[in-house]
Amino acid sequence: MLENNNELASPKPNAVDYEKIVSSSKFKQLIQKKVQFVVPIMVIFFVSYFLLPILTGYTSILEVKAIGWITWTWIYSLGLFVMVWVFAMMYVKKAATFDQMADEIIEENIK
């Protein structure tokens, strides 16, 4: 825990073999699960984020009325807000499983 740990992580000898842990199948599985979840979402996020200035900057296809004068530019932008909230909630749910795996790895490798 951190409350009494006022010294910074100094190079004190430690008995934990980190290389062995990170090459264990369970740790690799944790990283793989994280990558499988995080990477596609980040790709979708950045593509849709930068698509907005590309579409508004180079084309006028979003400058079309959708609901009254709420144009597609606004709907797309607010869609980005909704996307952030949805992905954030999905992440919290998924991260709980990562937490559980991480705790198991610590427990199995460090006594």
Partner: protein, 511 residues
């Protein structure tokens, strides 16, 4: 100044001073000073992140930008919010797991060389100073408008208050000032939005329809392109906004105030709700100001549109609501600059003094002394710069801070956590490449050299066409890191194993 405004300002000063008094009794150790003891809950820290992040530039600046330029003003809202998804997925948890007080701590968890820490401290201090001058200059101008006092008195008032909060109350006082400010800001924004929507019987479509005739821009008001004629300029700015947040030292520092990665995660999610709802409401603030105040009146008061929100409050709720909104803006400024002082002080006192000069061999008392002196030093230096920088364009300084954060800090954060082959040389070159490219390109950009007289410091053709250089300087930071790493033969796979394990599991060490 009106009597209600004076009383509300005074109430804010008294409440925040009382918090500082209360916090001072709980600030005995360096850990308490820098992280409030690491005991904030997810909701407390979420609100504090929102309070730390939503600056006067967000509240007054974006409301004004939307009022005057329609959709183009809303780009800021989009970028500032969506940045949090990136913070949540990529940065927050590893940072909490590896760091202690500062960003440099986290990078040093992998590379213990002094030059890495020194470079990280340098880039943090650069960002903090740019951001701070922007906030203080904006604050001075704003309080001058709101209270009718001289610019230098306004800067001194804000400067002295922020110093008191940090000096005596450290992170505890700063956090609670930020939490209260976030609540006040949300309350103020909700009240104004409610009053604007009430005029339209809560028919948002009606509001949008009305906007096509409410401003001189006509239908274009609802389309992109009033400010951003050059799409590359727009894309570059959007890049700085979405990646910059994850490299801002005063935001990153907030993750050390919670006990573990799980709480860091819930803080970001809570902040995302608060910040997101706020930024959606900037539409109503901006549209309302354009409709009920009118762009001529807004520009007459302040050409950048900064007075749009207070003027709208006056139009809808009279002098009292305007006083309330002005007081909220004041609290907003105080909360942000306090966070900046603290992060600047941590880079000086903890990184440079404690870890580099004293090599980590400092007593608790020395650490506290250094932290307090550094706070006073950072505050005094920023006040002096702000007094001399009255004429600087605030938006330019803020976008520069975001750009440096995205270019100098972000690549090294990503590589440290996720790239096995990364090494010391790469860490230094990543930071320097991003930092230097960003600053050099800005200094030859249209912000500094502009063909029209009075638009910038120099008249002439800019050597670099984009106002925000992120499109070049962010890749420069990433490529700089790769080149530095490959040139140096050094590898540290053993250390990376430890860093990767700790970053992913929150394991603190075998002691």
């Amino acid at each position: 100044m009106s009597v209600p405004a004076f009383i509300l300002f005074l109430i804010i000063l008294l409440i925040t001073l009382y918090i500082t008094y209360w916090a001072a009794k709980r600030t005995k150790t360096a850990n308490e000073f820098y992280t409030a003891g690491g005991g904030l809950t997810g909701w407390q820290n979420g609100l504090a992140i929102a309070g730390d992040y939503l600056s006067a530039a967000s509240f007054l600046g974006i409301a004004g930008a939307i009022a005057l330029n329609g959709f183009d003003g809303f780009y800021y809202s989009i970028g500032y919010l969506t940045a949090y998804l990136f913070v949540l997925f990529i940065v927050a948890e590893p940072l909490r797991n590896l760091g202690k007080y500062t960003l440099a701590d986290m990078i040093n968890a992998r590379f213990s060389e002094k030059k890495v820490r020194a470079t990280a401290a340098l880039s943090s201090i650069t960002i903090v100073i740019f951001y701070m001058i922007a906030q203080l200059v904006g604050a001075g101008a704003l309080i001058k408008l709101l209270l009718g006092i001289d610019y230098w008195i306004a800067v001194l008032l804000v400067g002295v208050m922020m110093t008191i909060y940090v000096l005596f109350g450290g992170m505890t006082a700063t956090s609670w000032v930020q939490i209260i400010k976030a609540i006040l800001l949300m309350a103020g924004t909700i009240i104004i939005s409610f009053l604007v929507l009430l005029k339209f019987n809560f028919n948002v479509v009606e509001l949008f329809n009305d906007m096509t005739e409410a401003t001189p821009h006509g239908e274009n008001y609802l389309h992109s392109g009033i400010i951003y004629q050059n799409p590359l300029d727009l894309i570059s700015m959007m890049l700085a906004l979405v990646l910059g947040t994850a490299g801002l030292p005063h935001i990153l520092m907030r993750f050390f105030t919670v006990k573990d990665a799980k709480t860091a995660r819930s803080s970001v999610v809570n902040a995302t709700w608060v910040v997101g709802i706020f930024y959606v409401m900037t539409i109503f603030l901006g549209f309302g100001a354009a409709k009920f105040v009118g762009s001529e009146t807004i520009i007459a008061e302040n050409p950048a549109g900064n007075m749009a929100a207070p003027l709208l409050a006056k139009a809808l709720g009279g002098d009292f609501l305007m006083s309330f909104v002005s007081a909220v803006a004041f609290a907003t400024i105080l909360a942000v600059v306090a966070g900046l002082v603290l992060s600047g002080a941590s880079a000086f006192a903890h990184d440079i003094y404690g870890q580099i000069i004293k090599k980590g061999k400092v007593t608790e008392k020395q650490q506290m002394m250094a932290a307090r002196w550094a706070s006073v030093g950072v505050a005094a230096f920023s006040i002096l710069l702000a007094l001399g920088a009255q004429s600087l364009n605030v938006a330019f300084l803020v976008s520069l801070a975001f750009c440096v954060a995205a270019s100098a800090n972000l690549p090294v954060i990503i590589y440290t956590i996720y790239w096995k082959r990364f090494n010391t040389a790469g860490a230094v070159t990543a930071m320097l490449a991003g930092l230097i490219t960003a600053i050099v390109l800005v200094s030859v950009s249209p912000n500094v050299i502009h063909p029209e007289v009075g638009k910038a410091f120099f008249v002439g053709e800019p050597l670099f066409p984009l106002t925000n250089p992120a499109l070049i300087s962010v890749p420069a930071g990433f490529i700089g890191g790769v080149i530095g790493t490959l040139v140096s033969a050094k590898r540290d796979e053993k250390k990376y194993a430890e860093v990767s394990f700790k970053a992913n599991t929150g394991f603190k060490g075998a002691d």
